[in-house]
């Protein structure tokens, strides 16, 4: 998957909402990428764009390309996309309570995906449904139960079973555990980790929780106001010497359970209004390291191997790991 210069806008009340501004991102096969950002950073919009599921009335892809296994998804027709969705790229939504159909049994819902994308005889479909349920740790005998008979954690397992039923090459997981309690979240994450090793799917994990990313991802992209401001391996982000000021601010905002700090160091101010983004670096009004140039010029990426930081502060410094 190769995303190049992607730009997405929403129009609302005659105003243009700049949801995604010039994002370029590469994902290799079998890789897990964590996409981190706060509410309104454009994380979910990016996932929806990859599936071309943006709301038709007001969402528009302005420019850019999304190359997936050599094909540009932006040029693809709706019929092509239907073949891709669920079979090659599938998605796990945030809220398991609302992403399942309450009037179909979970077995029927898993079978639906299989029937659409795999040419299997009826008994094989049933077999596969049972296999999928077992894979996510639910007894196969429960396939005739309805979603309301399952708890939140179990429902999310069902959603994952549906997403994985056709062995997709890429799985988009949009905050898959945010709606769950911590002990259940731990169970789901453990399970996803095992599945990842078992079926070699690439995963794009969208979350606001830096803790989950630390446990789960190989690569990390930090998103702010529709841009990726930092990209690197997990080691670059968590243990590297240089980070984007926004990334530093995110870490400073999390209370640490293994050390005692008197006060947190939050980022001052608020997310910018996406209809009226600041000039220059989008983060400059909140940035403690803000310089004159930040207010007028869009910073470039400064790279060291795979680690890239979009910040003027690093313009004359070599971003090099110790």
């Amino acid at each position: 998957m190769k995303i190049h210069n992607l730009k997405v806008v929403y129009s609302a009340d005659g105003q243009i909402v700049h949801a995604i501004n010039n994002i370029s991102l590469n994902m290799k096969k079998g890789e897990t990428l964590g996409l981190v950002g706060e509410t309104g950073a454009g994380k979910t919009t990016l996932a929806l764009t990859l599936l071309k599921l943006l709301p038709k009335q007001n969402g528009r892809i302005l420019e850019g390309s999304i190359l997936f296994q050599g094909h540009d998804l932006i040029q693809a027709t709706e019929a092509d996309m239907r073949l891709i969705r669920g079979s090659q790229i599938s998605m796990i939504f945030q809220d398991p309570m609302s992403s399942l159909n309450p009037v179909l049994t979970v077995g029927e819902q898993i079978a639906e995906a299989i029937k659409l994308h795999m040419d299997l005889p009826k008994d094989q479909v049933e077999k596969r449904v049972e296999d999928m349920l077992q894979l996510v740790g639910i007894m196969a005998s429960r396939k005739n139960d309805y979603p309301h008979q399952f708890s939140g954690g179990m429902k999310q397992r069902v959603v994952i079973a549906i997403a994985l039923a056709c062995e997709p090459d890429l799985l988009l997981a949009d905050e898959p555990t945010t709606a769950l309690d911590v002990t259940i979240q731990a169970q789901i994450l453990d399970m996803m980790q095992e599945l990842k090793d078992k079926i070699q799917t690439s995963i794009l994990l969208i979350t606001h929780d830096l803790g989950i990313v630390a446990e789960f991802c190989d690569k990390v992209a930090i998103m702010y106001a529709g841009e990726i401001v930092e990209y690197g391996t997990a080691k670059d982000i968590y243990e590297g010497t240089f980070n984007h000021p926004y990334t530093e601010g995110l870490f400073g905002s999390i209370p640490n359970i293994y050390s005692t700090t008197e006060r947190l160091n939050p980022i001052e101010g608020l997310m910018p209004d996406p209809t009226n983004l600041p000039s220059g670096c989008k983060f400059h009004p909140r940035c403690p390291k803000c310089m004159d140039i930040c207010q007028s010029e869009q910073p470039l990426f400064y790279r060291n191997q795979e680690h890239a930081i979009q910040c003027h502060f690093y313009a004359h410094r070599e971003v090099r790991e110790e």
């Binding site: 911590v182 929780d209 830096l210 630390a214 999390i254």
Partner: protein
């Protein structure tokens, strides 16, 4: 612990909800005490009864049995009008700043309302000054005086919730997941605000949350709840240094921490889910998920006992 009369104390507090399928034991025999100027953190997963506890303490829900003492006085036994005066000193900040503010009232009206109802200040001028003062205390710009809640982001709305709770100069505030609905950077701003206010105004907090890192940051003592019962109670640092109850250990283990783990790290997550809170059988309610469960865990209720100084736990593993 110094001998000091607590600001708030509950004894054997119980709150049950009757449903067609039985009684839900939402708060089951909770005895807590909080000293003046301190913060007691209440942690637990959804459905463990922590919000019900917060509301029962304020008499927003009437308890089924037990006693609540505020400044040494049993607030369940005093006359209603008398109780109302007492309850001015006890306020609450709600979880969801989107649902807890009336969309048809301006920010100033929202902050003003409790003072109006309680005839807190004699003149309109005084009230107005007080609203401005409160807005300044919580860091809201004066230009928002006539704004409506929808014009504000989550962090600012929660500041309005804080200002409203402070308006009657309370001594005690129940904070029911005040930062759970907010982004991390905003969450940190609100936490800092609440800690500053505690220092400045000598407030006492009952801080309810499911987020263990937040609770550690803000609390002096922590109580861990599971299905309506308190299963462990100790000083904040001690809980993280030396968790005793298997459930507490599992909870601590389950938090994803923002550091890279050793390669090959394997978490010990607990199996299963919360069992039903409807008419639970006597015995440890965590036993069905507990890796150390034995026969001794069921049959009779396990009392909360002090096993080390200032460290109470309800678990048979620590029977001597």
């Amino acid at each position: 612990m110094q001998v000091q009369s607590p600001l708030l104390e509950t004894r054997n507090l119980k709150k049950f909800f009757t449903t067609p399928s039985g009684r839900i034991h939402a708060v089951d025999d909770i005895s807590l005490r909080i000293n003046k100027g301190k913060t007691l953190g209440v942690v637990g997963e959804s459905g463990c009864g922590k919000s019900t506890l917060g509301r029962t303490v304020l008499r927003l829900l009437e308890p089924d049995s037990g006693e609540i003492f505020f400044e040494g006085e049993n607030i369940l036994h005093i006359h209603k009008s008398e109780a109302r005066k007492k309850l001015r000193d006890m306020q609450i900040i709600f979880q969801d700043p989107y649902a807890s503010l009336n969309p048809r009232m301006t920010i100033s009206d929202i902050i003003l309302e409790p003072m109006k109802i309680n005839r807190f200040l004699p003149t309109t001028k005084d009230l107005d000054d007080r609203v401005n003062e409160l807005m300044q205390i919580v860091g809201l710009a004066p230009r928002l005086y006539n704004a409506y809640p929808h014009e504000l982001d989550g962090g600012r709305r929660q500041r309005v919730g804080v200002a409203r709770a402070l308006s009657l100069t309370p001594k005690f505030i129940v904070c029911d997941e005040p930062v759970s609905a907010l982004d991390v950077s905003i969450q940190a701003q609100i936490l800092n605000l609440m800690m500053d206010l505690q220092d400045k105004l000598d407030l006492t907090y009952l801080f309810i949350t499911h987020n263990l890192s937040v609770v550690k940051h803000i609390s002096d003592e922590i109580m861990v709840m599971y299905l309506g019962q308190c299963i462990e109670w100790t000083i904040s640092d001690e809980l993280f240094r030396n968790p005793l109850h298997p459930y507490t250990k599992a909870l601590l283990d389950a938090i994803p921490i923002p550091h890279l783990r050793e390669p090959g790290f394997k978490r010990k997550s607990i199996k299963g889910e919360l069992t039903s809170p409807i008419d639970p059988p006597p015995g440890c309610r965590f036993a069905v998920r507990c890796p150390y469960a034995t026969e001794a865990c069921s049959g009779k209720d396990i009392p909360l006992r002090e096993v080390e100084t200032n460290h109470k736990v309800a678990c048979v593993l620590f029977d001597k």
